[in-house]
Symmetry: C2
Subunit: 514 residues, 2 copies
Amino acid sequence: MSERRRRRRSASPRDREATAGTIPQLPWKQPRNPYPPMNILSEDQVETIHRASLRILSELGIELMSAEGRDLFAAAGARVDAATQVVRIDPALVESLIATAPSGFTLTSRNAARRLIFGGDHMAFGLVAGPPSVHDRINGRRSGNLKDYETFTKLAHHFNAIHIIGNQVCAPVELPANTRHLDTYSANIRLSDLCFHATAIGAGRAVDAIEMQAIARGISVDDMADDPGVTTIISVNSPRKFDDTMAEGLIAMSRRGQPVAITPFTLMGAMTPVTLAAALAQQNAEALFGIALTQLVRQGAPVFYGSYTSNVDMRSGAPAFGTPENTKANIASGQLARRYGLPYRASPTNASNAADAQATYETQMALWACTLGHANLHYHAAGWLEGGLCASLEKLVIDVEMLQHMIAFLEPVVIHEDALGFEAMRDVPIGGHFFGTPHTLERYETAFYRPMLSDWQNYEAWELAGSKTATERATDLWQRALEEYEEPVLAPDRAEALDAYIRRRREAIGSGEP
Amino acid sequence: MSERRRRRRSASPRDREATAGTIPQLPWKQPRNPYPPMNILSEDQVETIHRASLRILSELGIELMSAEGRDLFAAAGARVDAATQVVRIDPALVESLIATAPSGFTLTSRNAARRLIFGGDHMAFGLVAGPPSVHDRINGRRSGNLKDYETFTKLAHHFNAIHIIGNQVCAPVELPANTRHLDTYSANIRLSDLCFHATAIGAGRAVDAIEMQAIARGISVDDMADDPGVTTIISVNSPRKFDDTMAEGLIAMSRRGQPVAITPFTLMGAMTPVTLAAALAQQNAEALFGIALTQLVRQGAPVFYGSYTSNVDMRSGAPAFGTPENTKANIASGQLARRYGLPYRASPTNASNAADAQATYETQMALWACTLGHANLHYHAAGWLEGGLCASLEKLVIDVEMLQHMIAFLEPVVIHEDALGFEAMRDVPIGGHFFGTPHTLERYETAFYRPMLSDWQNYEAWELAGSKTATERATDLWQRALEEYEEPVLAPDRAEALDAYIRRRREAIGSGEP
């Protein structure tokens, strides 16, 4: 008998449950990966990359467009070329500087129950960050604005599989560029109680995030130095350059004890040589440089080892994600992060222009790689489209479904006498079924992960219901999620203090302060 | 600078290459998985399942609807209940019987270059098998016919990521049921030179496959016993029943030295208790029973350990695939197969009604699990839709793309001095790019995997080209592949011998022979 013959696809009265009430979700809980990380590099290969990166740091050096940063390196014994701003560091100094970075840390928002642990087997999934455009199937593609920003932020709060808000899910372009970070931080804090990323373009924006999160938590900025509340990505201007705004952002964050993710922008063939070996060596050199700087700013400052290594289409120069090369890079970079005992940041992203099968298989390749590589922070994990140029509401829903699949998969298998069900097997006749046995009835409500997006009706029922693809059903789901969204209460005194801070800063920035 | 800012998405003259010539493909080569398998069960848990399955075999037994099979078990010392046809086997006998099954074997078609190795780190991806329906975006959904059968078979031959043809990609329902296997075998052999699966519903159909493959290879059936050429899936009628046709098919195949994949049909909550522990124990008992029977028929007969364990939707009873539970089962079953030193068969399948994001994420979950679990035969790997009720041409193209991604990912990372590109890094200025360096120019053509389906154009160019989703582009690709398909030459004398065999068998079956 062929495998399809005995499939049961009939509708039953219990079907009605699926449409009642709220969207099925896993509870809010930071996932952990109980399995050993995957290693695709031998220990020798890891050491070869390590040595190659030390050679890059020692012989070629990194341009650091921050006088303060260069002074710190010079004082520690690095060779600084005043004319070119290039800093060269000998291997022993690199090793001694990075040694003080901690292997883990926490991030705490205004709701202590949302505290995130970074390090070890802990994972956190972040909302997409940075796109100029936004797309959904109802309103089409447009430049992002504050309303869109708020929509995504509400969904990040609503969906339990999203654990942290990234740096500007979209740029609210209608607002003044030099103060819009105040509006987005305010939205983050009002509309959700998740941790969020600062915008570390210069020191001022980073400090505003720290101040505002401290107000939201009702603690001082000094207290927050020992109990961090915001983080950010420090992108390296690869090859081998830390620009002034990023360097200032790094210094501002590390000085105040807030974690940063040093992330080289290493697209193979464009910003690095075309081989994975070279890209990893360059990524590693650039990451170690930034990590060293955090430790010079504040010994013991929390820091992520970040990877963003992928390839470009060598015919057009277009970046690609979720490729086989990106998959390897995401796993191998985890080995490098562990080589240095550092929490690891990576991204399950894609380069598709639509929330379609390509977006899905590229994201899945990257998501598995980030998971197998034991990434602690999965940045851009929900809503990313077009290689990062667009935030998509449908893709966000598809991503949440995929993240929930991964979270449920990572729940360890339980095997004890009771679970083995010998009595149930004895009691069900040969060729019979287990639907009505006590063993089943006791467990069926929670035995299996229940998806929110997958449709398992038979074809005829699915057709009758409108033949909706997963992407079309995702449109229904984000609308329903917005209806069901509840704004988390913020104590009135803290809300007032935040408003006062924002007013003060708007005036100050308006009169030319940083 | 945010990560999106420096993305390069311009078109270049080299773009034109992508549209010229044939569909980009990886060369035909059986993939190998160079990494250790993933283990999600502890060794203790594996032994617990092993012992639970031995208890099932000893105390509960399996119904075997084949007198010949029961006689073989009885002669070996098993306890056979004549009234119920239930066979109970003591643990020591199970262990001694399965011990003679080989850890690997080959399968050879009429083209020796297409020989497949099963066992160890070798992988093979199979065409979907068994659906009654067929779908594509041009012709819609319909019952399968011989023309559809031929279309899928041509595509399986054309796409290098498909290594083996399954058992009837669709049933050619317009042909007489008792001879249509002759037509499908004939199509397999004429239109492709891949190995294929027999239809093992009864002995006659299995023997026809063996005879016809032997003719196609120009060897005798006796020769083929030592050098197999066809395989098949033996599905268990779970719980705990081998029906007469499947048992006869198993016996006919094993007697002639052709490998079978013993695959319990263990959907958790329906055909097994609702827990993964129980499902694995029952699967294991049923698989070991079938494996034992192959060894009683012919000591040393090649056999796969098969797993098809997944869950059902407990609200409707509908089967589901690519779920977190199926993901765990696919990985854990690999541990069981290795426990017995047997080649492992699993399936990267899904339960979606459309070739959409759901079909893609479910398939990816299962594909990663099959790969991490070191499945040797990935059955149903291309074209499966609707939980196996439909073969889809668009899904086949999406699957081939995903399989190629996986194959390219599994190519080991090369790290030697030259690949590290130190000179290239030295020569490119800080903040510059590597597009034109000699290191890049020497390697760019082959440095990265080149997809056939993924579209990495920028949004504006993609929109100008018609805003086609991956599923829509897949329609273009299968049509183009059919245009480019070339029928592999079959020596005229063998073609004539095959025709003569088919004529003979049609007459014999028409006059009532099996």
